[in-house]
Subunit: 258 residues, 2 copies
């Protein structure tokens, strides 16, 4: 019997109980998918009231650590996060692979099955994108929106914006997949991206994102924004990727020689 | 009068209203710190019930976009996010700056006033850190924990773990600030970090983090984990930084030649 709860502590009992369960989840003692002890078991183990136990379990659910099925108990959220390989996806050797786009290649390499649907539209982009692309007032962009699935489950949303002044006569405005990737098309018309600026924010999903990506309670999203600049330092693409945080780790590999 | 709400849409009215307000926040029409129209004004403007208006406002608060003061209305969350400069902080020229640590330098350069308190302890690290440091069972680490403030407000938590087998006889185990930075100390004892592996996750804060960093409802945290490897590919440091997402953008600048 674990008795980590100290009734004389100034820390609320439910918080002490939540701490104890959380540390078992973080340490791996309670593994992804594992069932937590029942409310009754927790009440006995920790000599706590039902109310204290429920508050602690609610706290863990709010943090996105556990899920509960009606009357079926509480479970550690099963997660097999996918690595979003920020430095690898668009490296030169990857860019030279014209058989598959970078994301498809990366997901396949992790033993998962990728798929995506694409929509192409002409839009005035949101203010932050317009400003990153240094657009004039009213200038339009081609927007390629991809809803991506992995192993048949909704996975992420990717929106790439390209100034119409650059891409109007290219495949980028066609409503089809570009197998060799839009970056390659940009390179072919003289706008190879030689540097990137990445900005990563995290926030709660909008209701639309929650629906489209099946995001559970207490789960935020990463918003990964990449601006690609050509050799003349012109921003030629802004890629916004929305990644549910329970399913994605963003990874960078950096040589410290830069 | 805006009438974007369509009662015949299949989309719930409160969601349409939340969409409308959200897009005004994202577009900058409603700026950080601005007051939203009152419940009564929204009811009139959108011909909506009080319940619909409240659901919409609640949705925006849950997304962390707005805050409300009791009886004082609803406001767009004021944000002046700090850039966490992941590629710049520890670049060679920065590392050569021995007068200030990298974080202090970066924050000062953004016109803000940094401060930090430090605690040093010897711990068995959490499982994920132990595994990133490739520790043997039971091996200990020096842990340097910094609570950082910017302009006098709690800002972020930084925890750096170093294998005791490497740092036991260095300043790193002293409970004092190291002005030239712990990375420099590592370099001096032959463990200059030549490459990094960064992994970024996002999650809701724990209650302790919420208290320590004054994190409001609906605001997730970034967890930025950096592993530093020396020239022999030995992991010599794991730095875990917890960044409230309303106050931080993580930024990477990448040359596409790597």
């Amino acid at each position: 019997m674990d008795v980590p709860i100290d009734p004389h502590s100034s820390r609320a009992l439910y918080r002490q109980l939540a701490d104890e369960l959380r540390s078992k989840i973080y340490s791996g003692e309670l593994k992804p998918g594992a069932q937590l002890p029942t409310e009754r078991e927790l009440m006995e183990q920790f000599d706590a009231s039902r109310n204290t136990v429920r508050l602690a379990l609610g706290q863990l659910a709010n943090e996105g650590l556990t899920v509960s099925g009606r009357g079926r108990g509480h479970f550690v959220r099963a997660s097999a996060p996918l690595l979003f390989l920020a430095t690898r996806s668009e490296s030169p050797d990857r860019r030279a692979n014209t058989a598959n786009d970078a994301w498809t290649t990366d997901v396949t390499a992790q033993g998962r099955t990728p798929a995506q649907t694409i929509e192409v539209s002409i839009v005035r982009p949101p203010q932050n994108v317009a400003s990153l692309l240094e657009l004039e007032e009213g200038e339009t962009t081609a927007l390629r929106t991809r809803l991506r699935t992995v192993d048949g489950e909704a996975n992420s949303l990717s929106m790439s914006y390209f100034p119409m002044s650059i891409v109007a006569t290219t495949e980028i405005v066609q409503p089809d997949d570009i197998v060799r990737g839009a970056n390659r098309v940009l390179a072919e018309i003289g706008h190879d991206q030689v540097r990137y600026l990445d900005q990563i924010t995290a926030r709660m999903p909008t209701p639309d994102e929650r629906d489209a990506l099946r995001i559970g309670a207490g789960i935020p999203v990463h918003e990964h924004v990449r601006v690609g600049y050509d050799a003349d330092d012109v921003p030629v693409r802004v890629a916004v990727t929305v990644l549910p945080a329970d399913r994605h780790i963003i990874q960078y590999e950096l040589a410290n020689a830069q």
